[in-house]
Symmetry: C2
Subunit: 322 residues, 2 copies
C-alpha cells in the first residue's frame, strides 16, 4: 500500500485548486439576490474533500486530457454532489441538522432557501458543463495564468463538442431515476425502518453513490477523448471504488467518532437504514471493501505507473477517517 | 386580431403532439422505483397548455428547424417548467394544495417524493437536451413513423453540436440565480407580505417567468441555427410576450374564477404578493399587456405571414381564460 501521507498531501493540493476554480464559478455572495448566493457558497465551501472532482481529473489526465477543462468539469460534479447533500438533509428527507460539523443548509437559511440553493447548484452545474470556453475566460480574474495545455482546448473541434454533450448526458443519467442518484435516494427513503435485503441494499449503494462516482471517473475519460476500451476500463475501476467508498462510509458511521464525521454517529443504525455492517457485520464488510479496492487497482495495471494516483486514491478511500 | 377559434384548435393539436413525445421521454410509471416515476408523470400530465414547447417549436420552424428536434427540445422545456411548479408549490415555498384543480405533488405523494420528482424532472430535461439522436430513436416505439424532415438531423455536423451546447447553456442561465427563474422565486418569496416597488415587481416577473419564456423562444431559433440578427429579433418578441403573459396571469388571479384556474383565486392578493393589478390597477394593467402584445407582433412583421402563428399565440396569451 502506498504511503498515505504522500497521497494526502497531493489530495490537499488538488482540493485547493478545485476550490480556487469553484470560487471563480460561483456567483459572488453579494450578487443580487444575495440570500441564494450566500446559501450556495455556504454549502459548496463547507469543507468537502473534493474526491469526485479529483477522480475526474486524474481519470482524464491518464488519457492526456487538459487539466483546466477537467477541473472545470470536476467543479460541476462538486456542484451536483453539493445539491444532493442539501436536498438529502431536508426535513422531509433525512432531516439532518449537521453536515461536516456545521448546521445544514435548511437549519442555517430556512427550508425554502435550502430547496432553491440545491436547485440552483444543480442548474449551475449544467450551465458550467455547457459554457463556451471564451465566456468563461472573460469571467476569469485577469491575474490568472493560463496553463500551457489550455491551448489544446481553444481550437476544439466537433470531437470536443461531441464529448461535451456526452459528458452532460452521462452525468444526467447518473443522477436520475433510472438506476441513478435520485433512484437510490427514493429506495433508501422507502426502505428506512424496514428489513432490507442484500439486493435492495446493493441497489441503494449502486444508485445513490456508486453511479455518480462511476460517472465522475468516466466523464474525465470521455472529456479527454479516451478510446471506448479505455473508458470501459476506468468504468470498472469507478464501479469498484464507488462501492468500496460507500461501505467505508457505512463503517465510519459505526466505528467513527462524531468529531471526525461532523454528524451524529450511529444515526443510520438508529433509523434502521440499510447498511453493509448491519447486513454483513463489521469484519466481513471491511474484507469486502478491501477486496474491491484491490480489484480496482488491478484493473488499472495495464497503465503502469501512470495510474498510480488513481490507485493511491482507491487505497485512501478505504483508509480515511472522515 | 386573428380568430381565436383557429389558434385554439392549432394549439390543441400541437399540445397533443408534445404530450405524445413526453409520453415517450418519461420513464414508464411501472419502472423501478415506481413511486418517483408515478410522481413525475402525475405532474407532467396534469393538463398544461404546453405553451413553452409550442413557442419554442414555432420559433424554430420560422427558421427552418426540424420539427421533431424542436419538439424534443420543447419537451425538455416542459420538464423544467413542471419541476419549477412542483418546487414552488411546496409547503416551505408557496404552500399550495391545488394546481390545475388537482392536489399538488406534495399533497398527493408527500414532500420527500415531491422534492425528488422536481429534482428528477430538472435532471431529465438536461439528459434529454444532451441525448444522442440514435439512442433516443432506439427508445421509440417501433410503430412510430419518423417524419421526413428528420433526415436533416441524422447527419448533424459540428454546427448542430455547437447549437446543442448553446441551447443547454441558454436554458440553464434562464432558470438560474443570475436574473433567472430561481432568482425570481427568491425575490418573490422575500417580498411576500411586504410593500413591493415597481422595480422589484419588474425583476420578479422578468426573472421568474419572463426569462424562461424568452429562453423558450430563443432556444428554438438557436436550435434551428438562425442568424444572430434573427435570434435577436425573436428575443424581443419573447421578452414582450413573457411580460404580457405574467400580467395576464396576475389579472386572471384577480378577475378569473376558481374553476378556470384550478387554484384559489385572489390568493396572491391575500398574501400581499407583488402583482401588476395591485400596483397599477386592473385597467392600466390590461392596457400595458395589450400594448406589449402589439409590440411583440410588430417585431415579427419583417417575416410576413411566416410569423403568423407566433403572432396569434401572442394574442391568445392575452385572451385566454385559464
Amino acid at each position: 500500500m502506498p504511503l498515505l501521507e504522500t497521497i494526502q498531501a497531493y489530495l490537499e493540493e488538488q482540493r485547493a485548486r478545485v476550490e480556487e476554480e469553484l470560487e471563480r464559478l460561483l456567483p459572488p455572495a453579494g450578487e443580487y439576490p444575495p440570500s441564494i448566493h450566500r446559501a450556495m457558497r455556504y454549502s459548496i465551501f463547507a469543507g468537502g474533500k473534493r474526491l469526485r472532482p479529483i477522480l475526474c481529473l486524474e481519470s482524464g489526465k491518464l488519457f492526456g486530457g487538459d487539466e483546466r477543462n477537467l477541473r472545470r468539469l470536476g467543479c460541476a460534479l462538486e456542484m451536483i454532489h453539493t445539491y444532493s447533500l442539501i436536498h438529502d438533509d431536508l426535513p422531509a428527507l433525512d432531516d439532518d441538522d449537521l453536515r461536516r460539523g456545521m448546521p445544514t443548509s435548511h437549519r442555517q437559511f430556512g427550508e425554502a432557501t435550502a430547496i432553491l440553493a440545491g436547485d440552483a447548484l444543480l442548474t449551475l452545474a449544467f450551465e458550467t458543463l455547457a459554457a463556451p470556453q471564451s465566456s468563461q475566460d472573460e469571467d476569469r480574474h485577469p491575474s490568472d495564468a493560463l496553463p500551457a495545455a489550455a491551448a489544446k482546448d481553444s481550437d476544439r473541434g466537433s470531437g470536443a463538442e461531441d464529448s461535451h454533450l456526452r459528458v452532460i448526458h452521462e452525468l444526467a443519467r447518473a443522477i436520475g431515476t433510472r438506476g441513478g442518484m435520485v433512484a437510490g435516494q427514493v429506495v433508501d427513503l422507502e426502505s428506512t425502518g424496514k428489513e432490507t435485503d442484500a439486493v435492495t441494499l446493493q441497489f441503494i449503494h449502486s444508485a445513490k453513490t456508486g453511479a455518480f462516482i462511476r460517472a465522475a471517473v468516466r466523464s474525465g475519460a470521455i472529456a479527454a477523448e479516451a478510446t471506448e476500451a479505455d473508458i470501459e476500463r476506468v468504468t470498472g475501476y469507478g464501479e469498484k471504488i464507488g462501492l468500496a467508498f460507500q461501505i467505508a462510509d457505512d463503517l465510519l458511521d459505526v466505528l467513527g467518532s462524531r468529531q471526525a464525521l461532523g454528524k451524529a454517529v450511529g444515526k443510520d443504525g438508529n433509523q434502521q437504514k440499510a447498511t453493509y455492517p448491519a447486513l454483513h457485520g463489521v469484519e466481513q464488510s471491511q474484507r469486502i471493501a478491501a477486496g474491491l479496492v484491490r480489484e480496482a487497482c488491478e484493473i488499472l495495471e495495464p497503465y503502469g505507473s501512470r495510474a498510480l494516483r488513481l490507485q493511491e486514491i482507491a487505497h485512501f478511500l478505504l483508509a480515511r477517517r472522515s
